[in-house]
């Protein structure tokens, strides 16, 4: 396998223009001859599908939900970044580019990130034109706020529902095209295989989730926009249905998987209350602007928090990081909380949380002011936990939130399978080892509205595509392998529900491949995951049949893929013997507990090639060079 990033040469400011000029064009009249299959209808998938249809391509979309409006992009709260510099506070394309490369801990491709910053402004224009009701100033201009520790106000937002409004904007454009007959919509479909003909991606196999039928679709290119793999940890802030299946099956057909160990853990989530817990809810980290994080000094202190006097409290972030205090970056705050819990100083009935206390803020600025700033978050917390955060400290705990790794793609967003493209969180491209706040929406829409619609034309114009129908043997082979797997899941005769086995995997991943990783913990994971996989195939209980609507079967298939993928994630973490961004190897830290990179050995993308069942995957390397941003150590002490 050869990794050719196809990154343009020359000055970075001109690289995207130059590349677009060099891409061959498809004649407008010829576009309708090409059919594109788009899997996933979140920000990336919906925006790509609508835009390609506007250009004249035939498009078909697929999603697991009952409507294209429900993908998990909808849950993004904070906002979307752009380098508009409307607030006149010194922002620029270059600064957004610089912040994103640095925030990613120097593990992303410079040219991709520069392009992202460039098209960020077009995204805002496009969304406003669609009727997205962004927040406005009284004079009628767009509002901006500072977000995720950025020193400029570059985040555009629609209340705490920015993801929802951007997705509904993309969905409205997609529905317009469906109405015009240029897009065919397939809902309640789960992609279970990519069909490769003569080395090119030419179709997919889907399970029709209502009838259970294995359906085949052919196309001239296939686009995966199927989101991240955070649910390999069982509990995460992801939607319940989010999964790795589409990208994993593509990986098994030849698409390299890049940097799976880059996972982001968010420090301010509502903690777990019991074994039945099905998801973790994120609360905006703006809470740390006024809340103070603490745990009791004494282990397993049984007192109510209000009864614990100041001298018995450990405001550990303020103690350990006096300069930044409660505002240290996400990864540092998350790891510090874990350390407290490992010391048996966690609080709440499970011991799996720390306090976030607004007592001093209420005393300082008064309850009405606190309510004005954080009222909706306090209400949400109160609703979930039945505890009143105005009266007793909130309890928070870190949770898996976003995954920076994904299918390896070149500058054209094409994977190592020609004709198979990958967009949004599902690819690895722009965030390096850590994603900054309000950058996920930006990347999903950049890929879908402004990158893929150009690069896919270059692929079609420069590629010979034979005529293919779903009658081709490659489709028959893919269907029979999908059906065989379904039958295997149905026939184990076990007694354990897929969710129970998923929970077990989650424990292994969280304990050993979570916030702090060591060679020892990773080796533990690498021995426990295959054992659990074996247990899964002996003991999983899947009731019902394959020829009906069967959510237990759907879940089992996704868990089976997570059980394979989790091993690759752990292996990637073990071989990356450095700490960077969301990947923290405890052996590699500065005396202050910061992530310590090893740029001599690991300034590269690790892309894994699948070599067949039971065979070790092969690790390939794409070297990263930094010609425009000076590489430096992050420091927040």
């Amino acid at each position: 396998m050869k990794l050719d990033s196809k990154v343009p040469s020359g000055p970075i400011e001109k690289s995207w223009d130059k590349h677009r000029f060099e891409l061959k064009l498809v004649n407008p009249a010829n576009k309708r001859k090409f059919k594109v299959l788009v899997v996933g209808t979140g920000l990336a998938g919906a925006s790509a599908a609508a835009t390609m249809a506007e250009l004249g391509y035939q498009v078909e979309t697929f999603c697991v939900q009952d409507s294209a409006r429900r993908a998990h992009s909808i849950a993004a709260q904070g906002g979307v970044n752009a380098a508009k510099n409307y607030p006149n506070d010194g922002d620029s394309i270059w600064r957004l580019f610089y912040d994103t490369v640095k925030g990613g801990d120097f593990r992303a491709r410079e040219q991709n990130v520069y392009r992202l910053a460039q098209v960020s402004n077009n995204i805002i224009d496009q969304c406003v034109a669609q009727g997205v009701p962004f927040a406005r100033e009284y004079g009628g201009t767009l509002s901006n706020r500072s977000f995720g520790g950025a020193q400029v106000s570059r985040t555009f937002y629609a209340r705490g529902q920015t993801g929802q409004q951007l997705l509904l904007g993309a969905y409205s454009s997609l529905m317009r095209q469906v109405g015009l007959g240029t897009v065919k919509l397939h809902t309640r479909r789960e992609m279970l295989d990519v069909v490769v003909v003569d080395g090119q991606a030419r179709g997919i196999v889907c399970r029709n989730l209502v009838t259970g039928e294995s359906e085949t679709y052919w196309g001239d290119a296939v686009v995966l926009a199927t989101g991240g793999y955070g649910n390999v940890y069982y509990l995460s802030t992801n939607a319940n249905g989010s999964n790795v299946t589409a990208t994993w099956r593509a990986h098994k057909r030849g698409a390299a998987f890049a940097n799976p160990c880059y996972t982001q853990i968010h420090p301010t989530c509502v903690p777990v209350t019991g074994e039945y817990q099905s998801k973790l809810t994120l609360m905006s980290e703006s809470l740390r602007n006024d809340g103070r994080v603490w745990v009791p000094k004494k282990k397993a202190d049984p007192r109510n928090p209000q009864d614990i006097p100041e001298e018995d409290r450990d405001y550990y972030l303020e103690r350990k990081y006096p300069a930044f205090g409660n505002l240290v970056p996400r990864d540092i705050a998350s790891r510090a909380a874990k350390q407290m819990i490992d010391e048996d100083r966690g609080v709440g009935s499970t011991g799996l949380s720390v306090y976030l206390d607004f007592k001093d803020a209420i005393a300082r600025i008064g309850e009405p002011k606190v309510r004005e700033k954080y009222g909706n978050l306090f209400d949400m917390y109160h609703h979930i936990t039945a505890e009143n955060p105005y009266e007793r400290p909130m309890r928070i705990y870190p949770a898996v939130h976003y995954t920076m790794g994904g299918l390896w793609v070149d500058y054209n967003l094409m994977t190592t399978i020609p004709g198979l493209f990958c967009l949004g969180e599902a690819n690895f491209s722009d965030h390096g080892a850590n994603r900054l706040g309000a950058s996920a929406l930006m990347q999903g829409l950049a890929d879908g509205y402004f990158v893929l619609p150009y690069t896919i034309g270059g692929y079609f114009a420069g590629t010979k595509l034979a005529k293919v129908t779903t009658g081709h043997d490659a489709f028959k082979e893919a269907v029979s392998s999908v059906n065989a797997r379904t039958q295997r899941l149905l026939k184990t005769g076990g007694k354990t529900s897929p969710s129970a086995l998923h929970r077990k995997l989650g424990h292994i991943m969280w304990d050993n491949v979570g916030m702090g990783r060591t060679a020892k913990s990773l080796n533990t994971a690498l021995s426990e995951i295959p054992a659990l996989r074996e247990e899964f195939w002996k003991s999983v209980a899947v009731t019902g049949s394959g020829e009906e609507f069967n959510q237990t079967l759907e879940r089992a298939g996704r868990v089976a893929d997570f059980l394979e993928f989790g091993e690759l994630l752990a292996k990637d973490a073990l071989t990356r013997e450095e700490s960077c961004g969301g990947h923290f190897r405890e052996e590699h830290q500065t005396p202050d507990g910061e992530a310590k990179r090893d740029d001599d050995k690991f300034c590269h993308v690790a892309a894994w090639e699948y070599k067949g069942e039971g065979k070790p995957s092969e690790r390939h390397v794409e070297t990263l060079t930094f010609d425009n941003v000076h590489i430096a150590q992050r420091n927040y002490a």
């Binding site: 429900r70 849950a75 009284y138 529905m175 109405g179 209980a541 899947v542």
Partner: protein, 257 residues
Amino acid sequence: MEQIMDNKLMNLTLKIWRQKDAAAEGELKSYALTGVSPDMSFLEMLDVLNEQLVAKGDDAVAFDHDCREGICGMCSLMIDGQAHGPEKAVTTCQLHMRQYKDGDTITIEPFRAKAFPVVRDLCVDRSAFDRIQQAGGFCSVNTGNAVDANSMLISHDTAEKSMDAAACIGCGACVAACPNASAMLFVGAKVSQYALLPQGQPEREKRALAMRAAMDAEGFGHCTNEYECEAACPKEIKISNIARLNREYFRATLISE
């Protein structure tokens, strides 16, 4: 460890609508569920039931859900006759079992409407909403056409009003709650979002007529001012959006040829 609330586990009787597929006859079946924690969400309670059913070799109860944080609009359920259950302004996924007490019987049914046929058990087909949106729920602007975002000034209050309408999650509770199974609140919210904004003006009349016609074609009923939709809406979309839809429709019939 502190005990911050009464964590007494509950035993419940669940009466759940079971229906194999769209063509099959459905019926309510009773299930006894023990050990329900008040901290569970309603859907986590159903997860526990399903894990027990699957372990016994029975088919799990099918229900729609995804984000489990009240924003995707995928979850539904009529709980004791109320769309999204007894609590105001929450989706089923955000309803918690502390609303209930030991020994309670809870009846769980799918959203009922002619335009929302049952797919299986508690899942219904809400693709009618997609088709209404396809008829006119958009601004016809291709990618790349847009001018600079700040070249169009929109007052703060107008943007906020539009956002109030745009907050709709498309769950269909308004339809399920309405005795006529009308979709006027859903359509009213979408028409309002655009009618209030300058971007929506070029297609204002066309949109009101087309979406209204699509709604009727899907078999939704008419509005008779029951206000049930507003009461059931998890995002508190206001009935004034229906009034605006009526005005927009009336205006469009006068203006258009």
